[in-house]
């Protein structure tokens, strides 16, 4: 039984996931019975009433009101059960408990960013305390994205120009994948993230360490920190570091090279050009690439930008 569950559904890691699963199995189970029943009847009829001679005359049976009512009302009752049940679970998913811990979520092509109460920030990784309701207040900077955690059976579109909400309670520490499920362009399928559920104490520590956010960890060299940032901020979703062709130009051998632009001008890549490309991506468009990058103005601070530039310099 567990093997079947694991085959069809991801592990249930939120308090409400089991409720969704119960309904999932109820609808699929009754559908399976109905399908097998109906197909069996058809197969039986096809065999029993197969044509035995060309002159066969069939009886005139036009309708049967009792039957019509029966096979209208029974499915009606069944689907009303499914409706009521589904709505009830949905209300549990929708109504946020009062004591929920709030995290702000910002989506943009193609990263997830999370802001916490004390100014801590994280990108791609959502850190939350275990066994406590967490409420996400979500908004998008560009197009519609959708925040989906299969382990929690939860999904909510993230829309530009308004806030949407969702909440969950993950009782056990662990990790779960986040997918973007609203098509948002070339990097859509790389717009992944991770929910990391900590024990309460461990979470407090993480939060304290990252308070204010955006300063260099002491044990890292600038270029190492830059590499880490490039991963976290999903720069490498579009810019390869090994010369391979992606949505944006590769970073390999970029520093010091000649760059050709759509308008015909050229520039030698230096610190100023890289900084401008991060803060004003559309100021100069590299020849042969689409103008799809967003600005990181107000998101990456000077120290972080410097670190990323140091990292790019190392990619010969």
């Amino acid at each position: 039984m567990d093997a079947i569950k694991d085959f069809f559904l991801p592990p249930a890691k939120s308090t409400l996931a089991e409720q969704t699963d119960a309904l999932f199995w109820f609808v699929h189970g009754s559908s399976l019975i109905l399908t097998i029943g109906l197909i069996a009847v058809i197969v039986y009829f096809v065999y029993k009433y197969r044509r035995k001679s060309e002159d066969e005359v069939t009886p005139l049976i036009t309708h049967n009101n009792a039957l019509e009512v029966t096979w209208s009302v029974i499915p009606l009752v069944l689907v009303l059960i499914v409706f009521g049940w589904g709505y009830q679970v949905f209300m549990n998913q929708t109504v946020v408990p009062d004591d929920a811990y709030e995290v702000n979520v910002t989506a943009q092509k193609w990263i997830w960013q999370f802001q916490y109460e004390n100014g801590a920030q994280s990108t791609g990784k959502l850190h939350v305390p275990a066994d406590r309701p967490v409420k996400l207040i979500m908004s998008s900077k560009d197009v519609i994205h959708s925040f989906f955690v299969p382990d929690y059976r939860l999904k909510q579109d993230v829309v530009p120009g308004r806030y949407t909400e969702m909440w969950f309670n993950a009782p056990e520490p662990g990790e779960s994948i986040i997918f973007c499920t609203e098509y948002c362009g070339d990097g859509h399928s790389d717009m992944l993230g991770e929910v990391i559920v900590h024990e309460q104490e461990e979470f407090e520590n993480w939060l304290a360490e990252n308070a204010g956010g955006g300063s260099k960890p002491e044990d890292l060299a600038p270029e190492e920190w830059g590499e880490q940032l490039a991963q976290e901020w999903a720069c490498t979703t579009c810019h390869s570091t090994d010369g391979s062709q992606m949505t944006g130009p590769t970073w390999q051998g970029k520093f010091g090279s000649e760059q050709n632009f759509e308008d015909g001008s050229t520039v030698t890549v230096d610190e100023n050009y890289l900084r401008e490309s991060i803060l004003e991506p559309n100021a100069k468009i590299v020849e042969g690439y689409p103008a799809v990058m967003n600005t990181y103005q107000g998101q990456l601070n000077d120290e972080q930008i410097n670190a990323i530039i140091e990292y790019i310099k190392t990619l010969k």
Partner: protein, 582 residues
Amino acid sequence: MDTAESSSTSKKIQVQRYKPDDNPEKHYLNEETGLWSWLTTVDHKKIGIMFLGAITFFFFVGGIMALLVRTELWTPAKTFIEANTYNQLFTLHGAIMIFLFLVPSVPAALGNFILPLQLGAKDVAFPRLNLLSFYLYLTGAGIAIFSILNGGIDTGWTFYTPYSSTTGGAVTTMVFGVFVIGFSSILTGVNFITTIHKMRAPGLTWDKLPLFCWGLYATSIIQILATPVLAITLALVGMERILGIGIFDPAMGGDPVLFQHFFWFYSHPAVYIMIVPGFGVVSEIITTFSRKHIFGYWAIALSSLAIAFIGFLVWGHHMFVSGQASLASMVFSFLTFLVGIPTGIKMFNWTATLYKGSIDLKSPLLYIFGFFFLFLVGGLTGIVLGSIALDVHLHDTYYVVAHFHFVMVGGMVMAFLAGLHYWWPKITGRMYNETMAKIACGIIFVGFNVTFLPQFVMGSQGMPRRYFNYIEQFQPFHQVSTIGSFILGLGFLMVFYYLVKSLFGGQKATANPWGSRAMEWQINTRPPLHNFHHIPVIINGPYDYHKPMEEFQLGLAESPTDGHGQESDLEVTSDGKEINAE
């Protein structure tokens, strides 16, 4: 002379039997010949055939794109094409299959050919409008192809804003192409409704109307009422892109969710535009091959209208996670379950029709049984998705992809193929190879299930749709699915092969090879240019298999006498209910 009698409702008219010819010298294909006669024809049969050719072409184009998409998904990362190419391919696969194949498939191709024959009419009500509808379709298709070559589109067939209002490429031209195709669809709808109301043969009362006509009637209503909303919506997207008017893009003060409401207000009913004609095909074929009166005629006829009506009120079930109000989600979920009931009623009535029938498992019926299973799975997984809590988990995953392919390919394409096999002898005058047809049906059925059943599992596990890269856990499912898609493709190629082969040297078809009672089988094969050499008269319903064939081949007697002519062997009252044998 007999004014008293003619003013009463029981005025008598004279009928005589017209036995159809099996292979007449003159028929619709050789009375007028040459390319020009095709391009300027107002004959509904030729227009139907031209539509059939065009949609077949686009079906294969869309199919090749599907195979490219599936091939790319063989590995979790890049297999052989770039992400942007992949995005364009799935967008075009969806747009082509829906707007250029599924929407016109049964109504414009098979419906055009069969509807006037079933009504006993010489043509549709507006033959020139019918031709215009075809040319609008071609124009729209041409614009769509132009936009593919001129930058392409990568928005998905749903054109969701603000992505579609900001992305590069030829979105504006593509949207204009779909806009034009929409008018083709509207004109077909107007034509069919008028034809069904005004051009039924004497005696063809509403309770004798073939269920295929009822299906097309319900479809036409949706086409007329819903398609203009799509046209307006797409025009607004075009205006936003060209003129910068903020309607959907929040950067300009618009509301992106408003687009989804507009879009699904058309596109959900459009799902019924695609499937309801298929229901009509099923009713025709089940009765013919079980030689049995349809069970629950009115239940099936009215459930089509019920689906058409309720289908307009469920669009919000595409938006449970869009951020719309919880109350709205509740109402839309409730209405969605209601629309499932008439669909279920149809399935049960068709099954009951088989009871005590005389069932001959010929290839059209075999395709219908394929339809039965696949559409049942598609419909029941629709119940799953209609439940809000489950949709929150399954929305925009492969579960949804599998669901609508079960409904659209498993349901509609199977019904379309069934109809094509069923009417092929009437359309072409030739029989195809029955054994090959059955084998192909089996291959398609197996290929389809191998392709799409794994997608239900993947989707339940959380695999999102429209993903170029995916996590490795899903690879086995994707690979099985890809293998299945090639089996499916092989099946479709096989159908194409033996159908085309039958045109050259296939066995000649008789006028009524299946022994059907429906009117299109009571005329010559191939049909005459103007369908009937006589005014047909209907005294029996199209499913009255308990009555002898002679009573179905009637027309107005050519030289009316005083009511006692030698040729007439039957008389019919003007309300078509009483028969007096002479």
